[in-house]
Subunit: 149 residues, 2 copies
DNA sequence: CTAAATTAAATTGTGTGCAATTTAATTATA
DNA sequence: TATAATTAAATTGCACACAATTTAATTTAG
């Protein structure tokens, strides 16, 4: 009788990653609803609050998202007035995204969210550190694949 | 000058979880394409290979998915011939999902996938163990919320 | 210098994910 | 026991994700 244990859900590492990611994003929802952002829009604004100005390609590299996801999302954020979209004059292939004043003001409403979410977590500080380190190790492994380095 | 560091992407724990989950699911794609399954269909089949028969509600509790996601997905798996869907005779509110012979045969084509994916990971065994433990701790915390226990 | 190759966004189409509502079946209660 | 409450799926509507293709701008090569 062949052994199929490798196919059991409980033996997967990807499944809890996938489930956990979605469960935590759900925890954000009540807080993000108050400022009318989805989770993906929220992390997009995070990058913009930090960078002020960025093109779609670079934004996509940071968020691990492509234009198929970002183009409609950025149009929505533009519709809400939080960002502006304009083509680069030096290279019109590039779309430059910038934060508006209204988008900058939104940061004030968002600043308390990380602490609120932190309260919901029962992870020990060292567990959070371990988790963070391991996740970025996996992400970087994938980033570097096929590169010269 | 107020401190907004908590809003930096690099200070989030949810973001690498979200990004990592999607990146690893992408690694599955070439293998899952060969057996014509999406990742969500794949983990659904995993549960069915183990349980043989299950109703939608229980399946949803295991996978952290609701009927809004599962109903169309299960119809697709039924269309591919891997599962059968039928109402319970004892309680017609319940839909019972069972694996077909074809679905059982698919397990043979899938059994090598976990090892193939494992090859792509550069995690040390103890890191994988830590990651697994922390993720399930977070998942269980959420599962138990608001329960008597 | 110009055609080919490359690049960046946008578009298209499919498949989730999930909140909210609806439908149908069952259970609890007045 | 008729009705109200509850439960399980299905449905609806919106927002991602992402592969594949298209469009337009820029670079590269011959």
């Amino acid at each position: 009788m062949k052994n199929y244990d490798a196919l059991k859900l409980e033996n997967q590492i990807c499944f809890p990653l996938y489930a956990c990611s979605r469960e935590i994003i759900k925890q954000y929802k009540p807080f993000l609803d108050k400022i009318d952002l989805t989770y993906t829009q929220y992390i997009t604004m995070m990058v913009l609050w930090e960078k002020k100005s960025i093109n779609v390609k670079t934004l996509g590299q940071i968020l691990y998202l492509d234009s198929g996801t970002l183009t409609p999302l950025l149009k929505k954020l533009e519709g809400k007035g939080y960002i502006a979209r304009q083509r680069s004059t030096s290279d019109e292939r590039n779309l430059i995204v910038t934060v508006t004043e209204s988008g900058e003001a939104l940061k004030e409403s968002a600043v308390s969210i990380p602490a609120e979410i932190g309260k919901c977590s029962n992870l020990e500080p060292e567990e959070a550190v371990q988790l963070y380190r391991i996740l970025y190790k996996m992400l970087n492994d994938r980033h570097l694949e096929g590169e010269i380095l």
